[in-house]
Amino acid sequence: MAYVPLADQDSEMEMHHPHSWVTKYVWSQDHKVIAIQYGGLAIAVGVVALVLSLLMRMQLGFPETFDLIDPSSYYQSVTMHGMIMVVYMLTALLLGGFGNYLIPLMCGARDMVFPFLNMLSVWVYALSVIILMSSFFVSGGPTGAGWTLYPPQTSMAGTPGHDMGIVLMLLSLAVFIVAFTMGGLNYVTTILQYRCRGLTMMRLPLTVWGIFIATILGLFAFPALLVSAIMMLFDILLGTSFFMPAVIESGTPLDHNGGSPILFQHLFWFFGHPEVYIVALPAFGLVSDVLSTHARKNIFGYRMMVWAIIAIGGLSFVVWAHHMYVSGMHPYFGFFFATTTLIIAVPTALKVYNWVLTLWEGDIRLNAPMYFAIGFIFTFIHGGLTGLFLGNVVIDLPLSDTYFVVAHFHMVMGVSPVLVIFAALYHWYPKVTGRMFHEGMAKAHFWITFLGTYAIYLPMHYLGFLGVPRRYYAMGSTDFIPESAQDLNAAITIAALIVGAAQILFFINIFWSLRNGKKAGPNPWGSASLEWQTPDTPPKHGNWGDELPTVYRWAYDYSVPGAHEDFIPQNVPESVEPTADEQHFDPDHDASKADT
């Protein structure tokens, strides 16, 4: 079978060049336009979720003062905030946005392998967002079951949105999974099969590795959510009893029996835990590249960073029941899941050490992206340490469903990925738009966000130790919670409002800089990786002009002794500049077999 790799059939490659405004910007098959569509929509729904969180904070901080939301809409806000942030914002932005933009550029490809499917992906994603948002406008409003959607309460009369809201939520999730699958197949296949000459897997930037493993996690984990969504839809619409046991509601027995609510929890968390790493791994990758570039040093322990990503990805499938300690399980299972959970700390800590060691003795340039990247190391260590508490069964039980848990997961998978997203948005903004952003505004944005984050979440740990339960509309008065807790709550709310408002700086910055930013040039940060070596900035459709690039080194040749500059782009041959790359692989001599 004569079969030619994609990177070698370049001359015959057909590009579907757009002919009109509509095919260029709406039904575009260009991965860069699709990335911006994905990212823009994800950020837009993220803003909706941010506003919902501020509404909740105002209620919690000043329960008698603001009359913005009632208990029902409080629960609806909790649910929609959680689901939007985790799935529709973080997953879509990191994989659909950054994945689409960076994978083909970093792999030296012209586009994704299947651009049409890629285009479908973003529009099906848009459809899922429309379905989700429409639940705000149906009778009963969106579901208020909490983002975990645990049955049987999702469909019981006491839960807001138990009729239409939950149906739309499940439908929207199913549609989202279809969109994700279409995009995800593209990302994985492109990384595997469409790398340019000389680009081995072990020369890929860590961004690509993070997105690669995260997408594989998504392709294997989202099926569990799809199946649980289908089963729950059947329970609600057809009256089946997959998850519904015999329930008596206000004295009337419901028409269900013999179902298992625990089954839903298992299916949900079999998706839900890998989902944490679907969000975290791309962030790990992006932050590695930002840190290395701005520290003018190669990433410390590249190979171990790759293996850590793979190990975390693998482990993430065998820890899911640590979300279910309070649901009750055999102590041996608790032991198993606690052990696997704590083992994840090993590769994760390895990554943190390597980030810090990348900074060690680096020629650090404190640009705005670097601020956010270093801020991430702080918040991530913080969130990771509280994860060690919650991974242990005996410590988790009393802390479960308190603000300690809220603080933990917001630090580790809320704030940390968001800081990386800002780092990455500022870092790649010059490539996407061709202009620089306003540095001062970006730094102000960083300080308010970063310090505000600590003002919000540090006190929450303490509230959790006091035993303040989460998901409560109002605390009322209890014997075990001192009244001073309410003062903390008010302070948290003020900090949250300031942080929320500070995000306006970000939007002003990126829109103002589109016109008024100074011209960035092709490679303003002096970055070695391939996406900064495109002939045009922003890159044109097809990315590479007449010929695909050839890669001679890894993406981290910074401050190499004897080189002319403090960085050497990946496409500069070893005969021209020295390299620090451990792997000796010369595409001009041996095109398909690494010399190990």
Binding site: R195, I230, K593
Partner: protein, 221 residues
């Protein structure tokens, strides 16, 4: 290209993954189909695991499949006869599909076309028998997703959900096969090559394989 890559047999996993350009020596479409099928495997695994779980959690006895899925042709009812026939048809269709792939690589357009059409026809007859099975259970026995006269309500729910999801896969497969078959006939792949027949075949074999598991776990267990 090195010798190892050309001969295929000598190239190891490590060689493939440490090479540039691509990790597998296959067209991208084939790699993508494989990844999709692994993802789809997780869907069916979740369905079957969910089924086994509710079968344990339900409070009522699980019906005897051999009695429900029995047909009598004049004499005593023969257990699972229809399901056995359906399984036989689907597995036969895998054989015709394999022949189509073979003739595709030999660039024998006519034979490829006819074997693909035969595969699609066998698939369609499978779906037809499923329709018969469904209508018999719904109309004659009164089985519904939310109830059935034989015992545990989950029996009906699981039956319609899992066989329905699989039947959907078969139906999509029939449409996919026919689309590719007519493109083969029109010479659409003369330049691009006939890997697409094998890619469609991968999907078809997967659907067959899933049926084997549904047959074993739902009908026999």
């Amino acid at each position: 290209m090195s010798e190892a890559a050309i001969s295929g047999s000598n190239s190891t996993l490590v060689d493939d993954w440490s090479a540039d350009k691509q990790a597998y020596h296959v067209p991208w479409g084939k790699a993508m189909m494989w990844i999709f099928l692994v993802s789809d495997t997780f869907i069916f695994t979740c369905f079957l695991t969910g089924y086994l779980h509710v079968r344990l959690s339900t409070t009522e006895p699980w019906p005897l499949q051999s009695e429900i899925f029995a047909l009598s042709f004049g004499g005593d009812p023969i257990p699972l006869i229809l399901i056995a026939l359906m399984t036989f048809i689907l597995i036969t269709s895998s054989g015709t599909m394999a022949l189509a792939v073979n003739f595709g690589y030999r660039r024998d357009k006519v034979k490829t076309f006819w074997f693909m059409v035969a595969t699609a026809a066998l698939g369609a007859s499978f779906v037809g028998m499923q329709v018969f099975e469904w209508s018999k259970l719904i109309l004659e026995e009164g089985v519904r997703p939310w109830t059935n006269p034989f015992g545990a309500t989950q029996f009906g729910s699981v039956f319609f959900m899992i066989t329905g999801f699989h039947g959907l896969h078969v139906t999509v497969g029939v449409i996919y096969l026919l689309t590719v078959a007519f493109k083969v006939k029109n010479g659409h792949y003369d330049k691009k090559g006939y890997e697409i027949v094998e890619i469609a075949g991968l999907y078809w074999h997967f659907v067959d394989l899933v049926w084997v598991f549904i047959f074993a776990f739902f009908y026999l267990l």
